[in-house]
Symmetry: C2
Subunit: 179 residues, 2 copies
């Protein structure tokens, strides 16, 4: 028996475009969050960059694939690792993960094991919780733990743009799928 | 593009056998940890039960599938959700997860989103760390968070048996794949 996860076509990315700053990179993650909502998915997007090029994009596929682990960050990490054929991206280069919202407890742990060495997020934990999503047990010490392992962490980039999207999702009756 | 995860045949389970107590259940999780080592995988096994029957088994497939998220618990959760066609197992019944070692930060979060309502583990965080595995940012409050969400948590069942397996893995030169 195998597990098959269908990655929708709209998660394909232009791998040639150069992104010169963090706002541009975050805009792309936000774009995938929007595309996800338009297709009935959760309001979250994530993109992994290497050498300022996008190499994998993820969106929340929990409802579509009926798998609770398929947060945007997890989808992006799996795609990046499949692409580079390694469970440890740090062996290949300095990968950066941009996520439209602060990673939840599960994704924070997944980042640690992925070999990604930089995480940037837009909306913060409390913004996602304000629309009804649970973020799990993430504490200040949790992010410090990652930083002590050499992972750069930055939150709040284009935060207000993401907050607007989260609020729109709530208004239009999007599924809140935390159990 | 799709993501395909090959589930090895040796993870198949007898779904008819009735397990009457927690030690029997843990023994099965330990059996899969041992099978995993014999096949060059990480020394971790997990089994999900419903109504005292095993419904899905997982082992650590990180190295084999080149995906860092594929801890034993994650594999078992994905198989259970695929089997019952839902991202929220709590809608089906009272599922129990037995894991040979204490779930890491990622798996702890994944349990919360899976709809599983009971977690039992054998070896503790410090036992896995003693042989070189990183467990990530898991604090006392992390487990309390799950308990506050109605999830039962119990550690240390057949702990010494699992510790012996972890030590054996280290002695025989097993891969420590935390980045």
């Amino acid at each position: 028996m195998n597990i098959k996860i269908e990655i929708p076509e709209w998660l394909q990315i232009d791998t040639e475009q150069i992104f010169t700053n963090e706002k541009e990179k975050m805009k792309l993650a936000i774009e995938f969050a929007k595309k996800s909502i338009d297709r009935g998915g959760g309001p979250f997007g994530a993109v992994i960059f290497l050498d300022n090029k996008a190499i994998a994009a993820g969106a929340n596929l929990v409802v579509k694939e009926k798998l609770s682990i398929l947060h945007a960050e997890i989808v992006a990490i799996m795609l990046a690792q499949k692409k580079f054929k390694t469970y440890d991206l740090s062996k290949i280069g300095l990968f950066e993960l941009y996520s439209s919202s602060e990673p939840c407890a599960m994704c924070l742990g997944a980042i640690l094991w992925s070999g990604i060495k930089s995480v940037v997020f837009g909306a913060k934990r409390e913004d996602a919780m304000a629309v009804g999503f649970d973020e799990g047990p993430v504490f200040e010490q949790s992010w410090e733990y990652l930083q002590n392992k050499g992972i750069k962490v930055k939150g709040g980039v284009l935060r207000n743009q993401v907050k607007d999207i989260l609020l729109l999702y709530k208004k239009t009756g999007g599924v809140i799928y935390s159990p």
